[in-house]
Structures are given as C-alpha cells and as structure tokens.
C-alpha cells in the first residue's frame, strides 16, 4: 500500500515517518517512534489506555489515523516528566495516592488528567470522575485515582492537600 510522509512534534521533538494511510496513530507512536507508554486496551475507543494529548486535547490515538496527526503537537506519558527526570506532579501524585496497580491504564489516565487540570484548575470530585470517564481502569476502582488528581491539583494550586472525608 502506498505510504505517506507524516511529520509532527512529539514530546517537544520533531518526529517523521512513512505510514500507510490506514495506520493508526497509536501504532505509529508505539511501533515507529517506540513510544510504548500509550497502550491498546480495546480497539473501539472505549478504554482510553491509548490517550495522548494532541494540540491541547485528549485524544484516543487508536481512533485516529497517523496521517490525521500530520503537523500536530503531541504529548505522551513519556513527555510528562521534566528533562532532568523530575516526575510531573501527576506522576508523583499517582504513586503517593496509590492511584495505579497493573499500570496499564496509567499512561492514558495521567495524560488525560493533565488535560483535565489544564482545563479546570480546581475540579470537584464529580468533575474529576466525569473528566476521566473515558478512561477505564480495572484495578483501582478509581477512588485513589480521583484522590491522586485532587492531590496534584492542590499541589499545582499551592494549597495543602486535604483528603476528602471518607
């Protein structure tokens, strides 16, 4: 099948490649750019394990062709930590609050939470739950993921984190 040239910015660096028109963005990221953080969990856009941040939006990269991302600015979990290796506050928060178990949904969940907090600096629990409802987790029951996002929001806003009353 004829291939097309695509170029985009991924985690702040230029990325180019030759892809079939039907190549999914997730496969381009994982197999050509070797960014194996985003995962494939369902093939039907339900689970969100493949979530990346694309031009300021959370996008399920299994539902988009690589050619559609031509020219886009993409951030994956691999681009969340600082250049010196310091974890992003959300990464720290997920560990602190035990917001992950098997780790398979985690990259998509953190990237989604990043966009959620960009859009809403101080979300309520209900807003967080709605905001991550496109990302499925089979291990944690979400409660500690919600807590982790609250923890990160508090840190970003410079206010003390108070665990919501159980």
């Amino acid at each position: 099948m004829a291939k097309s040239q695509v170029s985009m910015t991924v985690n702040g660096k230029p990325a180019d490649g030759l892809v079939e028109p039907r190549t999914l963005l997730i496969h381009f990221l994982r197999e050509q750019l070797n960014l194996t953080g985003p995962h494939i969990g369902c093939d039907t856009s339900h689970c969100g394990a493949c979530t990346v941040d694309l031009d300021g939006k959370s996008v399920k990269s299994c539902t988009m062709f690589a050619v559609q991302a031509n020219g886009a600015d993409i951030r994956t979990i691999e681009g969340m930590a600082a250049a010196d290796g310091t974890l992003h506050v959300l990464q720290e928060a997920f560990r602190e609050m035990h917001g992950l178990q098997c780790g398979f949904c985690t990259p998509g969940m953190i990237v989604r939470a990043y966009r959620l907090l960009e859009e809403n600096k101080n979300p309520s629990e209900e807003e967080i739950r709605f905001g991550i409802s496109g990302n499925l987790c089979r291990c944690t029951g979400y409660q500690n993921i919600v807590k982790a996002i609250q923890y990160a929001a508090a840190k970003i806003n410079g206010v003390p984190f108070e665990e919501a009353a159980e």
């Binding site: 079939e20 093939d43 089979r138």
Partner: protein, 814 residues
Amino acid sequence: MNVQTPTAAERAEKLQGMGCKRKRVEDIRFVQGKGRYVDDMKLPGMLYGDFTRSPHGHARIKKIDTTKAAAVPGVVAVLTAETLKTVNLAWMPTLAGDVQMVLADGKVLFQNQEVAFVIAEDRYAAADAAELVEVEYEALPVNVDPLKAMAPNAPVIREDIKDKTEGAHGKRKHYNHVFAWQAGDKESADAAFEKADVTINELIVYPRVHPCPLETCQCVASFDKITGELTLWGTFQAPHVIRTVGSLISKIPEHKIHVIAPDIGGGFGNKVGAYSGYICAIVASIVTGRPVKWVEDRIENLSTTAFARDFHMKTEIAATRDGKVTGLRVYTIADHGAFDACANASKWPAGLFSIITGSYDFPTAHVLVDGVYTNKAPGGVAYRCSFRVTEAAYCIERAMDIMAQKLDMDPAEFRMKNLIRREQFPYTSALGWEYDSGDYHTALTKAMETVGYRKLREEQQAKQAAFRRGETRELMGIGVAFFTEIVGAGPSRNCDILGIAMFDSAEIRIHPTGTGICRLGTKSQGQGHETTYAQIIATELGLPADNITVEEGNTDTAPYGLGTYGSRSTPVSGAATAMACRKIKAKAQMIAAYMLEVHDDDLEWDVDRFRVKGTPERFKTMTDLAWAAYNKVPPGMEPGLEAVNYYDPPNFTYPFGAYICVVDVDVDTGVTKIRRFYALDDCGTRINPMIIEGQVHGGLTEAFGIAMGQEIHYDDSGNVTTASFLDYFLPTAVETPKWETDWTTTPSPHHPIGAKGVGESPNVGGVPCFANAVNDAFKFLGVTHISMPHDHWRTWVVADKLGLHAGEAAALGA
C-alpha cells in the same frame, strides 16, 4: 549509658516492613510509561499472527481455502488444523483433563473459534489476510442453554468423545455431559429436609461473565533452530505451568523452554490458561524460524479466552421455625462451553465449590454439580476468586436472604444466629473443610454498628410506607453479605495441576553488602508483589525493604511455582518467603555467635540485629552478618547467605468479611444508585494496608460491574452479543461508588506470618452484597429473587412486572 540510638522503633520504621503503607516500587516505571508489557516487545525479524475465526456457533467445515490469504503481500504462512496435524498439535490437552482444538478440526463449536492462523510481516497484513481465508461451512443446530444440554435430542457438541462413557472425572451421563461431582452426605441432608420446619428452594443463576483485564492475552514465541530452544514471552499468571504444559504438548525438552512473563496489565484469572494463540505462535515460530507475536484484540478476548461462572444452582435451605439452619442442598448445572478448559486444581472439576456452606454452622449439606458442554467458548476460570468460590458465596448469601425473608427475620439477625462461633474454630464444615480461624460475630457487629444498621432499617421502613402512600417513587435496599473464602491452594494432598502439587516457592540471596534479591514462583499482575514481598523480608531479616529486589516471571531464574491466582501468593509464596528468611536468619545467628564469641542461645533478635542477651551494646546487624557470610564464617560452615523454600501449606486459609450496601432504586427508570458501601475484611496479618485497601477498592468495583451489569450473552443462534466494551459493562469512574473499607485481624494459625490473602475477597463478598441490596429494595413487595445482572433495564422490568408502572409495559413491549 545503655540507651540505644536509634531506638528499636525508629530502626523498625526505617525497614518499611510488614504493616506499613510502603509506596509501591513498581510505580516508578509505570507512571512514566516504562512498564514492559508483552506488546512492547520488538525482536529483529518479528512476525505477527492473527486468527480467522468462526462466524458460526456450530458448523461443519466443508473446505478451507487459504490461497487468497497466502497471496497477500507480506504474508509468510497460513496455519490450519491440517498443518498442525503434521506436528501433532491440532488438539491440546486442557488443565481440566479434556482436550481442545487449537484450530478448528472438522467443525467449529462456538462463535469466534480459531479456524486459521495467518503469519505476516506486520499486523495489518496479517489482519487483511485473515479476512481472506475462505471457509465453507455447513451450519449445525446450536445449543447455548446448559439446562437443555442433556436433553435426549440435544445437538452433539463433541463428536470426538460422544461415545466415551468415562470422562476425566468419572462416568458421563450423556454425550454432552462433562462430569458429575459431589460432596457431603446426601442421606443426612435429605433427612434434614424431611424434618425441617421451613425450607426454601430457588434457582440461583450466576451468569457467564469475563475477567476482562485491560491488557488482553498476548505472547511472543521465538524458536532457535540451531539450539532447539524456545523462548516464550507472554501474559502468564503461571509461567512455570506454561513451561511444563508447553513441553508436554510440544515435546520440546523442558530445559530448552524459557518462559518469561514481563509486566502484566491485569489478569483476574484470564491469564491462567493455555490458549490457541500461544500454541499457534510457537508453531509459527518453529515453521518460519522467526519470532512471532500474537496479540488478542478485545473482541477476541471477551469471546474466546476464559469466561467465568455460568453456574445454575438449584438451592435449598432447611431451617427451624426460630431460624437455625439445619441443612443445605445445592444441585448445579455448570456450563463449560465447548471444551472443558476450566482452570481448577485437577482433582476438583467444580473447584472449591463445596465452601458453599459459607460462614454458617450447617449440620449437614450435600452438593452435586453436573458439568455440560454447549456451543459457547471454553474456560471457566476463577475471575478474581479462588476456584468457584464466588459462585458458592453468591449462592449461599442470596439463599440466606431468601430464607430470612421466609422466616420474616432481619437478614443480619438471621446471619448472626447461624454464623460459626469464635470458639468453634478450627471448624470442620459439613462439606469437609477445616476453617483455620475466624471471629465472625465481632466482624458483623462492627459492620452493623459502623453503618448504623438499625437506623438504616428504620429509614427503609419509613420510605416503604411513603412509597405505599404514593409520596415517593424511590425504594431503598440494604444488602448484607458475610462471606468466607477458601484460598491459598493448596495443600498438595488436596491440590495439583496436571499432577504438579500446588506448592509455591521463594529463593532469597543476600549479597555481601546487605542488599538482596528474592525470586518467586508467583507472578504479579498489578498486586504489587515487588513491594510487599520485600516488606516480609524486611521484617523477617531486618534489612530495609528498599534493599531487596523482588523478581518473578522468568522460569530460568525463579524457583518452580504454580503462579498467582486464587489469592495464593501471600498464603503460599508469602509463607515460602518467611520460611526462606528464617533459614537465612538461623545461619546469620551462628555467624553472629561466632563473631561475638558467645553461644547461639546467648543471642536474641532485635529488629535488625542479633544482640547478646543482657548486653545490648554487643550486637551484629544483619548488614554486618551479610558481609561476614562472605569472609568470616565459622570453621566448617559454607560461605554465602541464601536460602530457598518450597512451601506446601498445611491447610488453605479462610479470609472472611462483612459487607453492607445501601442502594436507592428509582422504580420509574430502574436506575440504581449505590448510596453507601462498607466493606470490612479480615485477611489475617496485614502486610501493606495501602495495597490491601487498593485491592479491596478494585475488587469491589469488579463486583459492582458483575452484579450491576456484566454478562457474556449468547443468542439462540450462538452469536455472542456482548463482545466489546460497547455491550460488556465495565464501570467508569462515574458509575463506580465510593468505597468505605475497614478491617479486623484474625491471623491464620498455620501460616508463618498469619496472613490469609485479600485480593479476591471484595469480589467474592461484593457480588452478593450488591445483589442482596437490590433484592432487599423489592422484598417488601413480595419479590424473593431477582437474577443478576441488576442493570437499569432489568430493574425497570422487575418494577414493571410488579405493576408499579401504569401502562408503560405494553407500550414498550416488555
């Protein structure tokens, strides 16, 4: 001055041993997207495999033509049953003593069954070609109803064994019969029913569901033609079992097979078994001489690998008029699909289902299970539970509620009256299990007091009155469940898999600088083993948990073990870890005595050191002793500091818990809202409370999914109608309730550290608790049993059948 600085407590805290909320070691890589999962692997020259699958539930294969598929650019080979026959691998043995087609041989027995395996240079070409394999089918009559499987004219599912009167577990009653298995004393149970004041009799169905981890099943097989060695990376909950079974099937000597389970994205029972994809990838690698990757997609996962449950339980309880249970009888039809590929201990075709007397003091009981074949996918795994324990717990907890209702007793009060009393432990159940320890009344009392049970009942009564007056359209249900599990398989006298005793293992090496590595036969799929096993070692050996690497999943380096499922990691490998530590500690004590020039008995253990009794300033820390083990051992002693332990537990462990759920039901929409869910778990000694809480949250969420919406459903033609996330309910953060967790601690008396296991408790106890809550909401209207799942539509139908809607039913055709 004899003041020790730092103090024992300060030193203990630094170790991060048992009982502390140690942050997880695994998370460092997972939060950065640096987990190493199977699909992340890329080997030079790697090919991709994909299946052509059956669109039919039951059909004869007239012809398979692979010409067009083979012509697709990039396709390297296409395997069919005929190809596999040349290496004698068209069929494979199952863990349950049956055989199973690897690729369809002559006919297909369930929808999406594997028919051909295409191997290509990339996954797109493989998928293209899989579509182009031409198969001519002749449809056959389909049966997907287990209750009709043994009818005189039922379609013959398994032609290969239709005339066999003996199966792996004794006599077969019918050509679609798999096994009959029973426990207990039928005569005495029957007698109890004859004498009973009150009896109940209900068909309780636990529908077919699927464990559905977020990562599907997958593998990479790489066969080296020069050395004759096979390396198989895969999503394996039990890597050693896969190596042994792989060797038995492929005839490749076991020492030439290297099985490696890297990070696993959740298992929940789905990744215990051996699947066609693994066999085909291995054969494909042998045929092509190149590594072959096989990755299931979600539809394949939900419709072919490892369903769970599908138990149809005709349940009877006998009781006295004042509410003492006197007998239990359960007759079960178990739907095993087209092949008996249950993941049970081999001698237990119905698993540990005889835990069905639950937490109650039944004087007598009898259970009988008939397994049957249908045109559904094979499997029958324990989805986040010990073998068939959740079926048992759901059944008994529903039945106890039904009996309480008949006796006009409060379900909690009825349970209190029948719970096994603390002084009865160790308690031998009517079906023969010896429960190790328990304090059930304390747990249930604590649960009831914490939620304000009596007040909730008063509120419910007031709401019911208001409902009858037409002032509200909302019903309130209070679900109570008290469960006892049987986990930690197992004593080898009870449990084996294909003849291999279900022990487990730990091998610990302490390096000269006082750090170390522990390798185990289990395999974490998210449970946090790298964190918790190190905590056991920290407490046992007095070395900081941070200084211990925990490694699992590589059969070349790990000692043999049976893997992680059935909550067996902590009960079995956790015990092995403690026992291996004690061997190391005993040697360290001798070295310490030698160095301090005292007798062994003059030393005492103090957190992280041996000190001379009465002179605590004379001591050797474990770090000192590690160094000494490599240069200063007593004459005649072997140098080094390591130990291995294979632990064969003397008994199972019996975790228990008391759960209470409050649900509000809108009768006009069927919408249910979990107002409150309280879970008290007693898993014995607690290793890491943070991880326990996380396990309970996750298990409750899976239980919520099962009780409130999950079902793998087949239509009458054998089409599986729930094979994607569009149709198979996985709770999102929006539906998932908030969980309240609590605990009591009743250590296991036979376990070296008293731990019982917890990962599956919330699923086992959660499902009946939700179900009891929904049933409880409708109970005052005369309802005795509503089948799961309690989704909004089904709940609306219940309300409708009760006549709670005026005229809507007819309009909607319900």
